[in-house]
Symmetry: D2
Subunit: 141 residues, 4 copies
């Protein structure tokens, strides 16, 4: 099964959103058969929790999950979708590392899509996991 | 019942975290009896979803929820806590508005604390709601 | 604002579902203005966690939350809805008590409805809280 | 890595809880290396959503998720644990089928454990997915 968006189109959408551009999200890979997308985000000074800690605040990790899940479905549907809700579980601190988000479509239904997202650090440890629901009838602005 | 942190101490903690300072979170009110805290965040250009849309991306809204819930418990316990997990439901778009988060402690247990957070726009409409769990045994870095 | 279902119609729907009838759910009150519904469930032997503990297993509490949230929206829309997802947080054990679920509609949108549910024991203590999303375009079988 | 509970001990715990015995949960397999447990539940008349529909109500599916996740951690820790919270997403209706729950430990921390649960029907289709958090410091009654 193919995807409705090419890698280049996804990169243009990522660059086109001021917030996602600020996250510096970059597309790593896209697999239509596995309905999976992989994205990467470097640390930046504004994301630090405590001063000098080099630890990611949970907020930008949650934003990474929301966005990666959205693009896993967007790759299939040809457009980004409004988020209905999501859950994030923090498994361990993310310190002095960039982050990689692997998002997989669990359901692509007529009204609702569901994606799972695992976030790993540079050593491959899972630092957070997310599960998100999107409105497949809608179009995110 | 009082709180373990004064408003001034909370403001210092908010200012001390690079990410929260970037969110420009400001303490509006603190009510120890109701176990409730109210915070305010202005829009900033980096949070915009689509270019020129003036719409908040869901990511910074999730970060606002996580942080407000944490400080509702921090006010009682005297320190911020590691987030275990949280859920956010987006109810309507937040466009051309600042945001106000009202966080209320639902449980303050020995190992786990739970907070509910409602986020409203400048017209008082609820744009998102969050529910978050924190480790009351730990200390966030 | 009124409701699309009368109390009698809700009671008939409750009685018509084999599982809900097994839960022995009873309608206590219905408030169209507050978009709120209150339901009551007695303990029954099959719901016990440990033998002789008189403690509710979390499973039937989750079922009570799912059902009460559904009927809060059903009262407005005239039919029960398929559940998209829900979260339940257990705040304290429910021991030797019946349970009361108060469900309130947080959003009644074109494709998605959201309800909050608080579950209290006979002393009025909150034992669990739920947040659930339903497909307002669908009809539950 | 081994497990702290044998298959026989798990079966005794399943049989010992009145609610779980009512669910007719049966252990299918236990894999300590993968931190995975598989359980099976047949349909029963009391779980039916609409009369004659042969469709599982979401309530017992949620109970199955909560219980399977708990036992995935119990197998490692030697005892069942109190549930802190969980989320269930319903992906498709479960009609005229038994259910199989595959639960996998995502984190086994000092205070909190996290498990993912996939529920499949007799054709192998995923009907629901769950994510649950348990208090690893506690003991479920």
């Amino acid at each position: 099964m193919g995807t409705s968006l090419t890698s280049q189109q996804i990169e243009e959408l990522l660059a086109g959103s001021p917030f996602i551009a600020f996250l510096n999200l970059r597309l790593i890979s896209l697999d239509g058969d596995k309905k999976e997308i992989v994205m990467h985000a470097p640390m930046r000074a504004e994301f630090e929790r405590g001063p000098g800690s080099k630890q990611w605040h949970g907020g930008p990790i949650a934003a990474l999950i929301d966005t990666a899940g959205d693009f896993a479905l967007a790759a299939l549907l040809g457009r980004t979708l409004p988020t209905i809700n999501f859950r994030v579980d923090y498994l361990r601190p993310a310190i002095d590392t960039s982050l990689t988000a692997t998002a997989c479509v669990r359901r692509n239904g007529r009204t609702v899509g569901v994606a799972d997202v695992d976030v790993t650090d540079d050593s491959g440890n899972v630092v957070a996991i997310g599960r998100a629901t999107y409105a497949t009838t809608g179009t995110a602005r």
